[in-house]
Assembly symmetry: C2
DNA sequence: CACAGTAACCTACCACAAGTAGGCTACTAA
DNA sequence: TTAGTAGCCTACTTGTGGTAGGTTACTGTG
């Protein structure tokens, strides 16, 4: 009875107090953590508050996740995978290489537009938000990079040699960094539509990228 | 006497115990903080340890800097300004636009190579380092972006209209992001020489960049 | 020279948040 | 009925950013 009585009005709607199965609690905690990190940023979000919002005590959280960092990483990774899916899906709907890249880019920016809440934690800079996110941001970049490499290999047909692959990896990662940085800029210029962003970026990198694929296909 | 007696061997060489003028203490603290942040990362670096290394008590630090974040920001900003200077100097030594960009790029990567220690905090991802650096990293990107815009305006002669400037700002920031991300990759492939990195990146972005300047010069 | 004013510094503390030890409650299955 | 366990809690420890308030030594002025 102490248990039930200890839930005043700090309870988040949609979650009733009391015992729930482990899997459900996990999902609930992840959802709430996502929102909390988005609102406050990593540093300012406290595990106590997460516990309060979930209507649960702190050790419960630590029974599901090893640490605050691991919880954060899990949240970000989930979102990153969703993003990768969206982009991959959009890419698969086109066949011409440039059109594929364009479709992927648009999907990327549209996703950011939708998930702005959750994304701010990773990309906002204006407000001095804390973040232990380098590893996760990097993971996402790598994912986008892999996707690009895969796409290029698929359309060019030939496989580059070792040195070529090294260079290609470097360049796709650089491009992924450009996307990331552009997203950041976009955050302060939301009036620009995703399609225009994509076109700008395509005009910038496509000539060099096309040249690069030709170069790599010719060398081995 | 308590004062002098309280310095066992935790003292960093080159700094004698005892009272020193404010300006000297400030510089000393900044230098030590730079090293400490580089070693441990923002989160794991504690103010207590900084105090210990400086052979000083914590309030002394807070008499010089408002907070840990402000101290960190000051360190990073100092390094960022040094970087900008190096790049700008290198750029000024060339006249052909492409050669200028190349020279700037090489200077950029050379600087990272030298200052690797101090730079890890900002760019390393493999190790889960903490960082409250989004704002500072962004400031550095903006600096590089401004430099590029300046350089392009200088060489093209004409000034773009409002929409053109918006697009140009977005694209140069994207490019700065690409440099940043490439630096990160480089950290795991240090065998690639700076000149090669610069050439890779130039081959990738120069065609699009040249096209962009022409486009912007033609529209108004 | 005396001594006020101040610069540089200290000890001892607070607040707050991550993470833990150990125990309680209620469901389930034999 | 009762053993086992899943889910949960209260009450703590630890570590670290930051502060209050006092002490020491240097410096310029009567």
């Amino acid at each position: 009875m102490k248990f039930v009585a200890s839930f005043p009005d700090t309870l988040v709607k949609g979650y009733r107090p009391g015992r729930v199965p482990r899997a459900v609690r996990s999902e609930q905690l992840l959802d709430l953590a996502d929102r909390l990190f988005a609102e406050r940023g990593f540093h300012a979000a406290s595990m106590d508050e997460l516990a309060r919002r979930a209507g649960v005590s702190k050790p419960v959280i630590y029974d599901h996740f090893d640490s605050k960092e691991q919880l954060f990483a899990t949240c970000v990774r989930r979102t990153g995978e969703l993003l990768a899916d969206r982009v991959a899906t959009a890419v698969r709907e086109e066949s011409d290489p440039r059109a594929r890249l364009r479709a992927g880019s648009i999907a990327y920016f549209r996703f950011l537009q939708d998930q702005l809440q959750a994304w701010i934690v990773l990309f906002d800079d204006e407000e001095m938000r804390d973040a232990r996110f380098a590893a996760e941001a990097s993971r996402i970049r790598r994912r986008q990079s892999d996707l690009m490499i895969h796409l290029m290999a698929e359309t060019s047909g030939t496989a580059p040699d070792h040195e070529g692959r090294t260079r290609l990896e470097a360049m796709t990662l650089a491009i992924a960094g450009a996307y990331e940085s552009l997203s950041l800029w976009w955050h302060k210029h939301p009036e620009v539509p995703p399609e225009e962003l994509a076109d700008w970026l395509l005009d910038l990198i496509w000539p060099g990228l096309e040249q690069l694929t030709k170069h790599l296909a010719a060398s081995p």
